[in-house]
């Protein structure tokens, strides 16, 4: 029992406490060393952020939008290939699989500059479609890996079984594959969403300021001495993913329960 309590305290200290400190920093630009808590609380940063709320909400929504679209694209892109990678043996599979991971492993600048040029030529730069394309390429490996692991985890027998029982393709996909894949879909989507949502550099380069992004708005502050505003903006940043997470967690719990998949 005590071990569990110790663990809980450790978890909270590690992951929640920094947020608390951020919160206090947001309210006190003049927090000096070595005060353990700020001596004076001021609302300056709140006032500034409130005055910027139109721009801020626009960028938050925009980030949310392109991140969600990216998730959708990576999913559509990886579903079929993942089933192939998981179930089929063919020559050159290992190499192909490793290569498919490449975009997530190379530094963003490597292909983003080359792509930028290409995108300008085809008119995709500075538009939503360009950003989604780049983010998709940059983050699909996470979705791919996740889906492959998901397919590996339940084997082709389910599919076979369902087919033998007379289920149509659509029925199999929606009633057998997707529910069984759901944990890995969620895992992959979560990672892709977060990668897209918190990406600064790529969005900025390709989107060039015409496609608003929250990270583009946040970054100059993190990079400056305006720590108070930066802390506040960081806290605000987390609202969307947290609410999303929370909702998905709940929905999934409900879904698992209904499908009889509780562990």
């Amino acid at each position: 029992m005590t071990k569990n309590i110790v663990l809980s305290i450790l978890l909270i200290a590690l992951f929640v406490f920094p947020l608390v400190v951020l919160f206090f920093y947001a309210l006190s630009p003049g927090w000096r060393y070595p005060d353990l808590w700020p001596t004076a609380l001021r609302l300056d940063s709140l006032r500034y952020v409130a005055s910027q709320r139109a721009k801020l909400s626009l960028s938050l929504l925009s980030s949310f939008q392109y991140s969600l679209i990216t998730v959708l694209c990576t999913f559509c892109m990886c579903l079929l290939p993942a089933s192939v990678f998981a179930r089929v043996e063919f020559r050159g599979k290992r190499i192909l699989e490793s290569l498919a991971l490449a975009p997530a492993l190379v530094p963003a600048i490597t292909f983003s500059v080359g792509i930028h040029y290409f995108f300008i030529k085809i008119g995709a730069a500075d538009r939503l479609i360009g950003i989604v394309a780049v983010l998709t390429i940059f983050s699909y490996p996470y979705m791919l890996r996740s889906l492959v692991a998901g397919f590996l985890a339940y084997g082709a027998e389910y599919d076979l079984c369902a087919r033998n029982l007379g289920a149509s393709l659509l029925m199999r996909v929606f009633r057998v594959d997707i529910p069984l894949l759901l944990p890995s879909i969620v895992a992959g989507s979560t990672v892709v969403f977060l990668v897209a949502f918190s990406e600064y550099f790529l969005v900025f380069l390709i989107g060039g300021g015409t496609v608003p992004s929250y990270t583009g708005y946040l970054f100059p502050f993190l990079n400056s001495s305006e720590r108070s505003i930066a802390s506040l903006l960081t806290i605000i940043f987390m609202v969307i993913p947290i609410s999303l997470f929370f909702t998905i967690d709940r929905v999934l719990e409900h879904a698992y329960h209904r499908w009889g998949m509780t562990t």
């Binding site: 920094p18 060393y33 490793s98 190379v106 600048i109 792509i115 946040l218 993913p241």
Partner: protein, 289 residues
């Protein structure tokens, strides 16, 4: 049934964008590293940027430093993440809900994580304030230089903080599919806690652990956001070197920046290949159990 053409067709949603976007981008980078495709005329022979790279000792120092930071942070994240996931998984279901807090660093962008590390571990940071209040140090200069100390500790801390939840996410989802009863059986047969973990659960997790390690190692090797905020001046990460050469210095330096990128890219490919071979061998060995 699964002829080559059918396979290719099924793989096309992935292969087509991949070739069109990714390979084109890389190709253009390679071209620029050779001095071609430059917006201003390039004076120098085809491989002169590479020559300048390999001749300068700074390149090797920075390369070594990047590898070191990436390796240490990836190993620590994987170990810590697996350990935490397992321990949380063994908790009673009520307390498991607490683990949701571990997702916080996942949500934060890398730059925000760097910001937090700065806030806590700078000489005038929070940890230093605590130590000061406890009477363990007199002034900020007595606090050890964790960040900016020349050993990459700040970068490693930030990466570990950001990457551990990533490992936890993957491992937890694997564990969700795992059968508790295997553990109970093992225990009933007399296995200790340690044996249970290492010989029953770990092999099951190994594929995910391997994948995470590759991803994290290579990502932190080339990533830019965190070293940009808490990186050291010298040695510095290669990605920062590229940024400086490409964005902040004269246009003449672009081919050199591209050359560094090409080297990093080649390294990543080689590493992926070698690692997958080794991992596969271990995999097979474990699957035999």
């Amino acid at each position: 049934m699964t002829s080559r053409s059918v396979i290719l067709l099924k793989l096309s949603p992935l292969l087509v964008p991949f070739t069109v976007i990714f390979t084109t981008g890389v190709f253009l980078t390679i071209l620029q590293s050779l001095g071609l495709f430059m917006p201003i005329p390039f004076e120098g022979r085809l491989f002169s940027s590479y020559a300048a790279l390999f001749r300068g000792s700074w390149f090797y120092v920075n390369l070594g430093f990047s590898l070191y930071c990436a390796f240490v942070s990836a190993v620590l994240s994987v170990v810590l993440g697996t350990f935490l996931s397992y321990v949380i998984w063994r908790l009673p279901p009520g307390m498991q809900k607490l683990s949701v807090v571990s997702k916080v660093p996942l949500i934060l962008p890398h730059i925000a994580v760097a910001f937090i590390v700065l806030m806590f571990f700078a000489r005038t940071g929070y940890v230093s304030s605590v130590l000061n209040h406890l009477g363990m140090i007199e002034s900020s200069s007595d606090f050890p230089a964790i960040l900016f100390g020349g050993n990459g500790l700040g970068i490693i801390l930030a990466y570990v903080y950001k990457e551990t939840p990533f490992v936890m996410l993957l491992v937890t989802f694997m564990l969700k599919k795992y059968d508790h009863r295997q553990i109970e059986t093992a225990r009933m047969l007399g296995a200790t806690k340690r044996t249970t973990f290492f010989r029953i659960v770990l092999p099951f997790l190994l594929p995910v652990i391997n994948t995470s390690f590759i991803i994290l190692f290579l990502y932190s090797f080339g990533a830019f956001d965190i070293p940009f905020m808490i990186g050291e001046s010298h040695p510095s990460m290669l990605s920062i070197q590229v940024y400086n050469l490409y964005f902040k210095r004269d246009l003449i330096n672009r081919p050199q920046a591209m050359a560094i990128l090409v080297v990093m890219f080649a390294f990543s490919l080689v590493f992926i290949y070698l690692y997958s071979r080794i991992a596969q061998r271990i995999d097979i060995r474990f699957r035999k159990i």
